[in-house]
């Protein structure tokens, strides 16, 4: 019967582990916002699924191949990702930094067209006042 004491100790240990997990969960803010993560989880899947579909061939093939690829997609998809190349798409994962710069300029153009000023468009990012 002495084994009971070991078992009791063990059961307490398990229970303490769960208490610890609970406290960790509260600490990490999981009880603060009980809505957004539920939505976020759905996005992540969709985002990944989309990448799985489109990214691998893009990385494997040469640039000329992409263009055709993109056009096809543009026709297939109701919301059209038409007039842009896949270089931008790689940008999303944060790979090429020089490409990021290129697209920043494009965005700047877009912003100017809409008469909305953001600083990086005019002074090239980074305001010395805040550094």
């Amino acid at each position: 019967m002495q084994v009971m004491f070991v078992l009791i100790g063990f059961s307490l240990l398990v229970a303490l582990t769960f208490l610890g997990i609970f406290i960790w969960a509260v600490r990490s803010g999981q009880f603060e916002d009980q809505y957004t993560p539920s939505v976020r989880a759905v996005f992540d899947d969709e985002w990944r699924a989309e990448n799985d579909e489109e990214k691998p061939p893009a990385r494997a093939d040469s640039d000329s191949g992409h263009a055709a690829d993109t056009v096809e997609h543009a026709q297939d998809e109701p919301h059209g990702r038409g007039n842009k190349n896949l270089a931008d798409r790689e940008d999303d994962t944060g790979t090429g930094s020089e490409k990021q710069e290129a697209s920043t300029q494009e965005r700047a153009k877009a912003i100017r067209r809409g008469n909305i000023e953001t600083g990086s468009a005019t002074d090239g990012g980074g305001n010395p006042d805040h550094a």
Binding site: A15, V26, F31
Partner: protein, 815 residues
């Protein structure tokens, strides 16, 4: 700005004939096919820009996530220096949550976030600007926390970026004046976790003693179990339960027996008696009952703490005001923090900006929208030299003003100097539970001492046993759980009906209301000439001017509404003007005869279809029917029903800041006996409500604008009516969605039912107490009886109140 018509009004003739496309970005109807990319049409350049921005970064999944609820079109006033004040070092410091090295973090409130697409896009800000390191949305609070690299992007640029995609953060003076402190439930969760952990384990360790026959349990096990229980209960007593002791102590110091006093007595005797029993070896103690009690009580507490994160119930004028304003000095124009504005300063107010202090118009054409103040959306035109009150919003070109009063001393803001805003007006009404607990505590103590006295003469050894047993079993856990669960359920049911209350006390107070004070403008009336629609072939510019000229002559409410809805300032002379009450107006403008009024009057035809909820104003030009305006009913839908439902039960009062021109119409709805006060200033309203309360009335104030803020605060309960829940309403106890106005009487009736349910719950808990007490006084309260009786009474209390509240709500059509 480009005006658009909401998508949900497809019945619009103009739409049908032209087949106007729907904006690909925001879903509003487009004016035409002019703004397009490929086969996608946009209602304005702003929407097109956002689309380009997103497609540029391959973020078009945005549109497929939530197709029904499209994006927001960015607000573009053509003024790009709107956010210049965010370059000010003190402002930056106040807005930042965190700054370390180059990394900055700030939390912005984004009221326009409304769907899952918004979350998706806002969390991908880093894709739009490489300087943004991370962005995270807290949807219930409508907040986004952005982390960025200060060498790549500034705070102003982050805000501009958010605005450029249609999610302009709301940054107000209040945000800066007092750093938001979020009440966190974390501590309560920890307490519940610890109590639940101890409760579960102690219950398991107690089973052997309960189930085994006397003496059959191995003494070694008995020893281990009992002392493990003591060990486990220590954190519950010294951590989880501490709030009850401090609350009881605070109550006692104010000579007030609140519900936590008997609870603390019960906890103390439970714990003390258990420790005594275990140490002396008399028995296993009541530690499972003790921890279970704390566990259930804390669950009740968290259930009651339901809060609506996105809503704020304690806003004052500062949350409407911007952080800074442009001041014209000798050396040009600069942004000055609002707190530094002095009398005599020349300020420049641009489109959609608020006038922060009473001022005189120096230059420019002012069209002031006082909707923040009065709830009325009509634009008021001011001329040079006119006085403009603080809180008005300029619509149109920039104007220059001279400040004539300090911000705190302005017409509107002066209201906040009143005492009601400095002292907490609540507390005059003690909750029912506290009221009962006073008598409860006294009765329990009498029984406990009586029983102790009885046993002192019969069997002194049992005296302390019985005394503690009475305190243990009388511990009002069921009593304490009844009201959190009943009121908490009621609060959730109200939430489902778009009536959001600050806390559960509000519901209790609502049940005791005997007088309801209504504001008129914006509360009883629907806001906005913006809802006036033209039906018929589109009006030419010249026709519009002619109609406007004629309408200007009339003081009729409908004329005024239609007049306000027509754009432009030009008017002509009107000849042969005639107004026939109840029928319409006629006149000649530049030789053209015009008729405006009822169908019979203007069209010589009484058989036209009329939209529900609105009045049609017919127009004929040169004797030819031209079309009609549909003007939404002046009073809210269901006002008549509301009055019929409320009048037998409550005293109704109307306070209006307006002139009495509508008194007669209001009389037809409210009857002759309802007191009506007109031309009430914000202070008048406040004082009126205070006087009512001094006479002993329990007052509910229903208002909407900032001018009601004083009255809302002074009343026992202030409910603010809001057309859009996510826009800001003045400090109040509850926010009611305007379209639920007609359901309001049912909700008020429901609060009374809730109180009846609470009382029934009290009866149930008394029955348990009587049963338990009979065990206790006869000295038979074994740990097993306590272990069964106490959780059962708690669970019954929870189940009964929750289920009956929901059933009542269903019967009343609130669920």
């Amino acid at each position: 700005m480009i005006t658009t018509q909401p998508l949900n009004t497809k019945g619009n003739n103009a739409d049908k004939t032209r087949g106007a496309p729907v904006c690909f970005h925001c879903g509003d109807a487009c004016d035409g096919y002019d703004i397009a990319i490929g086969d996608k049409y946009f209602c304005c350049n702003g929407c097109k820009t956002v689309y380009e921005l997103l497609s540029d970064k391959d973020l078009c999944s945005y549109y497929s996530i939530d197709e029904k609820r499209r994006g927001k079109s960015p607000f573009d006033d053509g003024y790009s220096r709107r956010f210049d004040y965010l370059d000010d070092a003190t402002v930056i410091e106040q807005l930042l949550d965190f700054a370390d090295g180059d990394v900055r973090m700030a939390t912005f409130r984004v009221p326009s976030m409304h769907c899952s697409s918004c979350i998706w896009l806002l969390e991908r800000l880093g894709t739009l600007h490489p300087g943004v390191i991370a962005s995270r949305v807290h949807f219930p609070r409508k907040e986004v926390t952005v982390t960025w690299n200060a060498t790549q992007v500034s705070l102003r640029e982050v805000v501009s970026l958010l605005s450029s995609i249609g999610y302009e953060p709301f940054i107000s003076l209040q945000d800066v004046a007092e750093k938001r402190t979020r009440e966190s439930n974390r501590k309560l969760y920890y307490r519940i976790g610890v109590a639940g952990f101890a409760f579960g384990n102690i219950m398991l360790f107690s089973f052997p003693e309960y189930l085994a026959d006397e003496g059959t349990i191995d003494p070694a096990f008995q020893f281990v179990f009992r002392y493990l229980n003591v060990l486990l209960s220590l954190p519950v007593f010294f951590y989880s339960a501490t709030e009850y002791f401090s609350s009881a102590w605070a109550g006692l110091r104010q000579r007030h027996l609140n519900i936590d006093v008997p609870i603390s007595l019960g906890i103390l005797s439970l714990f003390g008696r258990s420790i005594f029993d275990i140490v002396t070896g008399i028995g296993p103690g009541y530690l499972d009952s003790f921890t279970g009690l704390i566990f259930f009580l804390l669950i009740g507490k968290i259930f009651q703490k339901k809060s609506y994160d996105a809503l704020s119930f304690d806003r004052d004028f500062r949350s409407y005001f911007p952080l800074s304003v442009a001041v014209r000095g000798d050396d040009g124009e600069h942004n000055v923090p609002l707190t530094n504005i002095a009398v005599g300063d020349r300020i420049i107010i641009r489109n959609q900006e608020l006038v922060p202090a009473d001022a005189v118009l120096l230059r420019g054409e002012a069209h002031i929208d006082y909707s923040f103040v009065t709830g009325e959306a009509d634009l008021i035109r001011k001329n040079s030299g006119d006085r403009i009150h603080a809180g008005g919003k300029q619509v149109g070109r920039a104007i220059e003003l001279e400040v004539i009063k300090n911000i705190e001393q302005s017409y509107l803001t002066r209201l906040w100097n009143n005492d009601v805003f400095t002292k907490d007006s609540q507390g005059s009404l003690r909750s029912t539970v506290d009221h009962i607990s006073k008598y409860f505590t006294i009765v329990v103590l009498v029984i406990a001492f009586g029983a102790a006295l009885f046993w002192y003469f019969h069997d002194p050894t049992l005296m302390t046993m019985v005394f503690t047993a009475v305190l243990i079993i009388a511990c009002p856990c069921a009593l304490a759980l009844t009201s959190p669960f009943a009121l908490g359920s009621a609060q959730r049911i109200f939430g489902n009906n778009d009536f959001f209350t600050k806390n559960t006390d509000t519901i209790e107070t609502l049940a005791r209301i005997d007088t309801i004070v209504f504001d008129k403008t914006g509360t009883l009336t629907q806001t906005g000439s913006s809802q006036v629609r033209w039906h018929g072939p589109a009006l030419q510019e010249e026709e519009r001017v002619m109609l406007k000229s004629l309408l200007r002559q009339s003081t009729h409410t409908l004329s005024r509404q239609v007049f306000a809805s027509l754009a432009g300032d030009r008017t002509h002379e009107v000849g042969e003007y005639r107004e026939v009450p109840g029928r319409g107006i006629e006149g000649r403008v530049q030789g053209v005869p015009l008729l405006i009024g009822s169908a019979e009057w203007a069209w010589r035809d009484g058989s036209t279809a009329i939209e529900a909820g609105s009045t049609a104003v017919y127009v004929s030009i040169s004797g030819v029917p031209r079309g009609h305006f549909s003007v939404p009913n002046l009073y809210r839908d269901g006002l008549r029903e509301l009055v019929t439902a409320l009048k037998p039960e409550y005293e109704l009062v109307i306070l209006s800041g307006d002139s009495d021109r509508e008194a007669a119409r209001l009389r037809t709805v409210f009857g002759e006996d309802v007191p009506m006060q007109f031309q009430q200033s914000p202070e008048d309203k406040l004082r009126y409500v205070q006087r009512l309360r001094e006479k002993g009335h329990k007052v509910l104030m229903v208002g909407d604008g900032l001018n009601d803020a004083g009255a809302l605060k002074a009343a026992d309960v202030g409910v603010s009516i809001s057309e859009n829940i996510n826009t800001f309403s003045p400090a109040c106890d509850g926010i009611l969605a305007a379209d639920r106005f007609s359901v309001f009487p049912r909700m008020l009736a429901f609060t009374r039912s809730s109180m009846r349910i609470i009382k029934a719950g009290f009866m149930i808990s008394f029955v348990y107490n009587v049963v338990g007490l009979s065990f206790a006084v006869s000295g038979l309260l074994s740990p097993l009886v306590a272990a069964i009786l106490m959780p059962i009474s708690s669970v019954t209390a929870i189940a009964f109140t929750t289920i009956s509240t929901r059933l009542t709500a269903r019967r009343r059509g609130l669920l």
